[in-house]
């Protein structure tokens, strides 16, 4: 599974992209975020407030209860501010 971080999530985790292999118990976005928090203090800080995080799975918007599977590209980012 590939995880991408953008904007302040990228800055706080200190990584733009990482390949991960979460355990079988991680089946949805909420579970994935919980598991990612344990990767270090930067991750823990970046991911502590899930209400501030938006998610896309394979470049489609998703929710906290959306299922994730091996091979997915999961992106975590703040609300968008383009235009």
């Amino acid at each position: 599974m590939k995880v991408l971080y953008f904007a302040w999530l990228r800055q706080r985790t200190g990584v733009g992209e990482e390949d991960i292999d979460p355990p079988a118990g991680v089946t949805d976005v909420a579970g994935l975020i919980d598991w990612l928090k344990a990767r270090g203090p930067g991750h823990a800080e970046a991911l502590q407030d899930v209400s501030a995080i938006r998610v896309a799975i394979n470049q489609e918007f998703a929710e906290l209860d959306s299922p994730v599977a091996p091979g997915d590209e999961v992106a975590l980012f703040p609300p968008m501010t383009g235009g």
Binding site: Q59, A75, F77, P79, M80, T81, G83
Partner: protein, 161 residues
């Protein structure tokens, strides 16, 4: 129907000319250009950097443009969005729509920029006068502006104005 996501600046006049060239069914062209302004929340801004999600950006812009075409009778449309570092006064984004009808052009252009602001994966990092970078917060007003197009009495397709 054109979508471009690019680092470099664009020439609004040349883009709008290309949009309508040779198509005499077009009665109106509406456009919006977003620029980096030097003030935000009472702070002076010297420059900003736009980060985006390559791949998903193009995908979302394509979906937004398709939705626009579905709602209004358009002859042509255009979205150009830049990324990277831009100084105050620089152009960030151009959206333009061309239709036989004035109202369709004006409304669809407004819709395009409203939806783009909340649905395309871009993030702004502003450089304040003190050199500090600050990630711009999403604004409730932008969500409300985008939401308006879901609930408003917008007809599916105007046969004519």
């Amino acid at each position: 129907m054109t979508i471009r996501v690019q680092r470099e600046d664009f020439d609004v006049g040349a883009e709008l000319k290309r949009l309508t060239e040779g198509n005499h069914a077009i009665g109106g062209v509406a456009s919006f250009v977003g620029l980096v302004r030097d003030m935000a929340d009472s702070k002076t801004i010297g420059a900003m950097t736009l980060e985006h999600y390559p791949g998903m950006t193009e995908k979302m812009l394509t979906e937004i443009e398709a939705e626009t075409k579905n709602r209004w009778p358009l002859e042509a449309s255009l979205i150009i969005h830049r990324y990277g570092r831009m100084e105050a006064g620089e152009q960030i984004v151009l959206v333009a729509t061309a239709s036989p009808h004035r109202l369709a052009a004006l409304e669809s252009c407004h819709f395009l920029i409203d939806w783009l602001k909340t649905k395309a994966p871009f993030w702004k990092l502003e450089e304040a006068g003190d050199g500090e970078g600050r990630w711009v917060d999403a604004r409730d007003a932008d969500d409300a502006a985008a939401e308006r197009w879901n609930t408003g009495p917008t007809p599916k397709k105007h046969a004519a104005e």
